[in-house]
């Protein structure tokens, strides 16, 4: 980039100007139930009219992937992926599952903790 101080925008604009064009300027998802480890899986095929980023997500998620993985694989910030995933959920193209969040309750689910421990020991 060779824009200097005379540029009409400064460094505060950052590298995010372009990623957010794919969200049509939206910087926050309306959905508050999506987080880093929300899993999504493709439920419906892409349509010809979709923007390429939506198509990329639907092609990627043939098996459950987290928001974090989609972000890493497509090279787009978490916030952008949340917005795009929320759009696809609204359109019925993605199914999703939020984490059980056992530690959000006073007593964590012992069955889940034991299943995690068993899984680690089997590695």
């Amino acid at each position: 980039m060779k824009h200097g101080r005379d540029s009409w925008y400064d460094d505060d604009a950052g590298p995010l100007v372009r990623p957010y064009t794919v969200t049509r300027g939206r910087t926050h998802s309306e959905r508050l139930d999506l987080n880093l480890i929300t899993l999504v899986v493709t439920a419906a095929a892409e349509s010809a009219s979709m923007d390429p980023e939506y198509v990329d997500i639907l092609r990627l998620c043939h098996y459950p992937l987290s928001i974090a993985e989609i972000s890493a694989k497509l090279g787009l910030p978490i916030t952008v992926i949340k917005i795009l995933v929320a759009d696809l959920i609204e359109q019925g193209c993605l199914n999703f599952s939020s984490p059980p969040s056992p530690l959000n309750t006073e007593t964590p689910d012992m069955n889940i903790l034991q299943a995690v421990l068993d899984g680690i020991r089997r590695l």
Binding site: T79, I112, I120
Partner: protein
């Protein structure tokens, strides 16, 4: 009765749930190495942009500078069984801004703080963070070069660590050792869950 005794969360749409564990510690202490040694995929990197209103002694009255910081984190994935996936998130090393990333800590099962006895102060910030948030954690002392300069008790004293927090020695380059670290964390979580009065989550 499921074969692993796991009762899936009521998600009609997707029969798989995800959990996360944080891996924290100072810069270059081996966080991504630990993640990579147990992950089923090569560690992935993602980014989030955090914004904060900077405050300081030089502030001009009525003028706030909004600062944005891009924080990168590496993570790995372990499929534990047919319905449960564990994600390991290595918190950014030098970067102090990850402390502002509330979502990163929210809902985490617990954390592993990696310490290097040659630079013990590198883990202080992470220990302090998890103590204040009452997120259960263990301390894993990474024995990088095969020379352990201090005993576990000396490390505990130096960090002034709560006696209930397990400390263990490890070599995060070794898969078995890293598995042992994660198993130790889960045993700690199970012990805490068995005596709910010992944990004081808000």
């Amino acid at each position: 009765m499921a074969s692993v005794g796991f009762d899936p969360a009521p998600q009609a749409t997707l029969g798989t749930s995800a959990l996360k564990v944080l891996v924290a510690g100072g810069f270059g202490v081996g966080k991504t190495t630990l993640v990579g040694s147990v992950s089923e995929i090569p560690p992935l990197r993602t980014e989030e942009v955090l914004s904060t209103v900077s405050g300081g002694v030089d502030d001009l009255v009525g003028v706030e500078a909004k600062t944005t910081t891009t924080v990168a984190l590496d993570f790995g994935r372990i499929t534990l069984n047919e319905s449960l996936i564990l994600y390991l998130f290595g918190t950014p090393g030098q970067e102090r801004f990850w402390f502002m990333w509330d979502e990163l800590a929210m809902g985490a099962l617990g954390a592993v703080v990696i310490a290097d006895t040659r630079r013990l102060d590198g883990c202080f910030a992470a220990v302090d963070f998890f103590e204040r948030r009452q997120i259960p954690f263990i301390l894993a002392v990474n024995n990088f070069h095969g020379q352990q300069m201090y005993t576990v008790d000396e490390v505990r004293d130096a960090i002034d660590l709560d006696p209930v927090v397990p400390i263990l020695l490890c070599d995060v380059r070794e898969r078995e050792s890293s598995k042992g670290v994660l198993a130790n964390l889960l045993e700690h979580l199970i012990a805490l869950a068995a005596q709910p009065h010992a944990r004081h989550r808000p």
